[in-house]
Symmetry: D2
Amino acid sequence: MIRVGIVGGTGYTGVELLRLLLPHPEVEIAYVSSRGEAGERVELLFPNLRGLTDLCFSTPSIEELCQLDAVFFATPHGVAMEMAPQLLAAGVRVIDLSADFRLKDQEQFHHWYGLGHTCPDLLPTAAYGLPELFRERIRGSTLVANPGCYPTAVTLGLAPLLSAGWIAPEGIIADCKSGVSGAGRSARVGLILPESADNVAAYGVSGHRHRPEIEATLSEIGGKNIELQFTPHLMPMIRGIHATLYARLQAPRADAELQELFAERYREEPFVDLLPFGSHPSTRSVRGANTCRLAIHQPRPGQVVVLSTIDNLVKGAAGQAVQNLNLLFGWPETLGLQQIALTP
Amino acid sequence: MIRVGIVGGTGYTGVELLRLLLPHPEVEIAYVSSRGEAGERVELLFPNLRGLTDLCFSTPSIEELCQLDAVFFATPHGVAMEMAPQLLAAGVRVIDLSADFRLKDQEQFHHWYGLGHTCPDLLPTAAYGLPELFRERIRGSTLVANPGCYPTAVTLGLAPLLSAGWIAPEGIIADCKSGVSGAGRSARVGLILPESADNVAAYGVSGHRHRPEIEATLSEIGGKNIELQFTPHLMPMIRGIHATLYARLQAPRADAELQELFAERYREEPFVDLLPFGSHPSTRSVRGANTCRLAIHQPRPGQVVVLSTIDNLVKGAAGQAVQNLNLLFGWPETLGLQQIALTP
Amino acid sequence: MIRVGIVGGTGYTGVELLRLLLPHPEVEIAYVSSRGEAGERVELLFPNLRGLTDLCFSTPSIEELCQLDAVFFATPHGVAMEMAPQLLAAGVRVIDLSADFRLKDQEQFHHWYGLGHTCPDLLPTAAYGLPELFRERIRGSTLVANPGCYPTAVTLGLAPLLSAGWIAPEGIIADCKSGVSGAGRSARVGLILPESADNVAAYGVSGHRHRPEIEATLSEIGGKNIELQFTPHLMPMIRGIHATLYARLQAPRADAELQELFAERYREEPFVDLLPFGSHPSTRSVRGANTCRLAIHQPRPGQVVVLSTIDNLVKGAAGQAVQNLNLLFGWPETLGLQQIALTP
Amino acid sequence: MIRVGIVGGTGYTGVELLRLLLPHPEVEIAYVSSRGEAGERVELLFPNLRGLTDLCFSTPSIEELCQLDAVFFATPHGVAMEMAPQLLAAGVRVIDLSADFRLKDQEQFHHWYGLGHTCPDLLPTAAYGLPELFRERIRGSTLVANPGCYPTAVTLGLAPLLSAGWIAPEGIIADCKSGVSGAGRSARVGLILPESADNVAAYGVSGHRHRPEIEATLSEIGGKNIELQFTPHLMPMIRGIHATLYARLQAPRADAELQELFAERYREEPFVDLLPFGSHPSTRSVRGANTCRLAIHQPRPGQVVVLSTIDNLVKGAAGQAVQNLNLLFGWPETLGLQQIALTP
């Protein structure tokens, strides 16, 4: 039994961490912070947790956090990098669900997030927390940069093709559809139901912070520079990401070869589920579960279409963070993560 | 052709007034104000209006408003009562879609809205803008208090029973369901799609500002004091109000008598549509239209259930305001109000 | 470890039973039947279950069912009463989620369901499966009539008031709002998203099958004949029931007395959660969980309003059935039922 | 004033034709057919039309249709081609909203629709009813093949680039998102709200009937063979199509050049609205209106992304059909088509 803390517990990533960690058999949640709600009982803000916890939100205190075994940051960018050095020095493992340690390149970080990095020396030590690709690095690390929701869906969908060198590095397109919870639990007119229900629109088409993160990972996997066209869209739904991925084969491949490439790559992965060739996964089938569900198509020879679905708050955030926690502490990777997707 | 202005044009009531008034054959919209968006083009905020108007939002100016023929207030309470006296003195007709002139009783106004009334002398001159009940008063007035959305649905559903004296004055219940647009175009966490979609909850059960407004009208119609249990609920939909109204008959009545009472009462009304006895109107069937659609049930002898549906932004706000404008200027009451409800 | 079967596994109640029973520590699902899908793998119909079960749907076979320890009926009415006698004779415990054993009165059953009852002698032996009211009867029974979703929400909300004799038996109103999954997984035009989204309508106002079921239970609790006005409405959401319950006190009671009555009644109940007086529970806060969340209001002296929320597929169907299973086999009542509601 | 008929009036295209044609100043709807609902009053099926029409559905009768001035087919494929020859011989203008006359190539038609064409001699005479591209052909025709909803959004978004020869003919991708009404008013489990709400999935990725239709038009415009990757997705909304279109420039172009190309091409078009460069149109902004709203992006040099939005039932079906009617009869193209999009 370890004692963990959550910094920034009032957003959707925070409440999802609480949902997953409260019943986790090896974890005691000792601390949840929130500047805005300090002193308030957690169950008052999140009535789904009534009767399950006596926790109150605290003002973040580095002293208290330093006494824990692990700390999750479910904060806007800029917070984790302020506190991580002290925590790590005190022997606390850090899992950052924000963007602070995702981009290794300080200038890119500054460009996309508008902040100078305050602990660039830690950047090389941070493991990118996508276990299906970087499991050993995560196991050997004390600081995990938990991936963004879009990067998780896109990277898992393209990795087998890129690591095999089967697709052309240019012209890859990720057309992504996200539920509104991806925009966070924040009071913005554009997110209220009368604006966002019964409506679809793209956003950030000319540039979005998740693109450099995806490109960095794909370039590392592919062993060459990958430029991606990444187009996010807001869907009138609560949870879920559907990534529709387009790439061109470098040489002809039969449908069965494509399927076998993915099947081989993900056979042992508990949280990646490959559907039969030509299937259409739905975000519904992963709602509430830590699963990435994939399907492959080749509509015309040489044109590959990969459909990749996750729950943005689980495999795209809190679930993946718990998966990383399990790795850091040497527990079975699926511990506490076997919730079945809610259908309907 | 008259020239009208809209004070507070950035909310849902404002944009709905624009949708209805832009094609109105007797109206030129000369002025739309908004403190927050002053200087901005209207079509930038509301792209559905692109190409239909060159209007920009202005800072509210009493001088400019005084040169118009009519002014609509689509503002929070407290604004109209500040400006109405000067406008009326200048001969401008005023249609207030806020609450400032709905309650004749100053103390009630203060209790429910937390403000002292600044022009109580105008209160007796304001006509309550429910044309189906107070058509002649509206025609003879220069100041119209446009009813709230809930009061419109509830009052039209109960009026025939009360004016006939058929139901008991005590124990009347109005269980009301509203789309989220009823809460306005405002940035509040509780209204964002991830909170309000796939969810139903009541609010204000212990007391809501629309209750005294409904009770005042019903008491006037019924000729005695009516106390209503009014329970509003937030529905995961954009537009629409469904009022489910419960009352007890004072004496036995056949189903056909009940139906005939309503049929007789609303036969000539262009905007009230009585369905066959025992039907179930849907909010969908009035979406975008200035219609109140009603049906009557008597599940057990003596127990009457009236189902009343409107679009909260049309018959519950902007459409009714245009209907009142038509009355004020002696035009056909349906002018500019013949939009067909959008189905599906 | 017992072996259970599900008859009728392709509806929403069936898939919810699978979601709850697959991880249940004392249960092995040995059998799932469906006439229409016989031979098909369960995970093909319900991809959320991929990798969790090898089950295929079978044609219902009484021989195979007789070898199990318990059988759930998630079928339309009329099926369970055909098979239950043989199963009970073979020592199998039966939990019927359909209506076959809910109404003790054969004539009422015939009136509302259009069928003659085929085993009326079993009716007196069936326990009505609302554990909060009839726990001991259920423990001592081999045949459980699992309540309907509306009756669960309404009865739990009114029971304390009726058993205390505090409210008048006449004039009780249950205005209920249900998600569309309550209508089942059936191909009907009225249920498709373009019809049922962004829409609210009542249905069955003049009479609904769940009314006599509720009235029978309430009359038993209250010790006198209770006539209820029950009004169901279809909401544009997937899961959830919100019951708004209206009753009149027989004698004056302080708010705190009302609250204490409920608090006392449900203090030891793991699946009933009473909110502070004057709160507004949301269906969201119980989505996916076996919880009934309640709040009490007294808007005017003597007028009680109870707000009662459940997930229609969990506490309103499959979750309650598992709770009954736990009782029948003497396990802790919460076994396998500690899922946390999915928020957002 | 002409007399028109609608064959197949019970689907969403049918009711949308009724919504648009009932107030059309030059049209009298003389006839609406439906095999399934023959004898039924139209307003019973579509309560939004109550009080606006006395029409009843009829069994389709070729004799009666031959006496009209124009006939719309809002039927599944296979119906219009059976009846069109006689109607045209009788001098009736035919606007077919189904697929019967969209593909000039009989073999393609047979491949995608599984039917032999029964009047292939008429195929060359049918004008493809996309007025922005083929206005003169439509004016000179008596038989109009009204485009599909996806083809309308995609073709308007790509036409300027292809007719200018600016983009490469290979590698064009149309990632399209559609509301559920695009699947028709049909009783299918996959379309009911509990399945399709809060969910996103692709369908027909390996091949969809609208792809050859789009490719034929684009190839004609581009003067060379165009192969498109077309990926449709089902969105949890009622109406709307959002097409996200990807293409590569053959030579470098400044953003302003791209914008000017589209601005020039659509300057005089009443129903195409080009947003400022880099904007994000929403389906909401065209809901209920006969508008295609477009925006252009160039996220990286040479990579063009066009966002194209329509209401699938208006500009994607019934509205465009009325636009074609206006052309056939020499009326102003916007006659009866100036509904403002419903916001919110």
